[in-house]
Amino acid sequence: MSVYVIASILAMAAVTLFCRAAPFLFFMKSRPPPVVDFLQIYIPPMIMTVLVLGSYKAISFAKAPYGLPEIVSGLAVASLHLWKRNTLLSILGGTALYMILIRVM
């Protein structure tokens, strides 16, 4: 264990904390402008869209099984959730299906 490793980890921690704290520090004294009120509503659905699509970025759709386990399981999660609206059931059901599909496909 070297000073280098410890210093690197502290640097990573400091930068990460800075990223997370920046908006709160920036708007500590002043009221955020109205556009921030608008963004507070629309950022969450956009981030969730980006994160879902991003989860599919590593799949190679060009070769077998053509991303089918991911797509089928993802659709299963969404359908289960639209139907029963039970978060745990949707996630466990979809994950179990995915674990089966990657072994049989």
């Binding site: 264990m1 690197s8 980890i9 997370r20 950022i43 659905p45 956009m46 969730m48 994950t95």
Partner: protein, 233 residues
């Protein structure tokens, strides 16, 4: 009454955090295993998960530490990977404004998954006071970090010995994001944010590639939604 509020907030937080439990334990194990294989002592895995607590940056850190990259460059790459968190905070300003006891920790512990739960899952209805709300946020944040710390310690200590073939269980996190997206679609029934974010993600993947697309996609989404401000209000 305060104690009861805390208790029901904790219960609700635990059930909201179970999907993260599955994902963080397994991905944490993968992280711990990778770190030890790169030549670091086992305890560095839980230590990183306690003080850094940022999954993507920690995975990147394993490679950077092994290659002996300069500290300034490590800091810069961490900034690029975690810049998206600035946007998360921006949309939590109101939600966290009433927090006092736990605010600093809530900000420190803001990961993708915790952000998703806190912006989508409503705290229990019988706990509507500011205090109970804050307890719920703090409990979700702390449980999520606990899962991540336990996962990384397990992976570093016994990751190589696990007999159970858990391949694919990490899909739980994708499933969590899908569920949260469905919930967002129920709450925000307007097309522009979803269309803008889809185009932004596609464009970012094509332009900068899968390794660094996230921050570009999120910034492009924000720029892209601004012209719809009049139409959406």
């Amino acid at each position: 009454m305060d104690k009861n509020d805390d208790k029901s907030a904790f219960k609700a937080a635990f059930s909201a955090s179970v999907p993260v439990l599955l994902g963080y334990i397994t991905i944490g194990i993968a992280f711990g295993l990778l770190l030890v294989k790169s030549g670091q002592p086992w305890w560095l895995a839980p230590v990183m998960s306690v003080v850094v607590y940022a999954g993507a940056a920690q995975f990147m850190g394993v490679g950077l530490l092994a290659s002996g990259m300069g500290i300034a460059q490590i800091a810069l790459l961490t900034l690029v990977i975690n810049a998206r968190h600035m946007v998360y905070g921006l949309s939590l300003l109101d939600r966290y404004s009433a927090s006092k006891r736990w605010k600093a920790y809530l900000i420190f512990a803001l990961t993708d998954e915790t952000y998703g739960i806190l912006t989508t899952v409503e705290p229990p209805t019988d706990a509507s006071s500011d205090r109970a709300r804050e307890s719920f946020y703090a409990a979700v944040s702390a449980l999520d970090q606990l899962y991540w710390v336990i996962g990384s310690a397990l992976g570093a200590l016994v990751g190589g010995l696990l007999p159970f073939d858990a391949r694919g269980i990490e899909f739980a996190l994708t499933a969590l994001f899908i569920v949260l997206l469905v919930e967002q679609m129920r709450a925000v029934r307007r097309a522009p944010p979803y269309i803008v974010a889809t185009i932004a993600t596609g464009g970012a993947l094509l332009l900068v590639g899968p390794a660094n697309f996230l921050v570009v996609a999120i910034l492009a989404s924000i720029l892209g939604i601004l012209p719809f401000r009049k139409a959406l209000s």
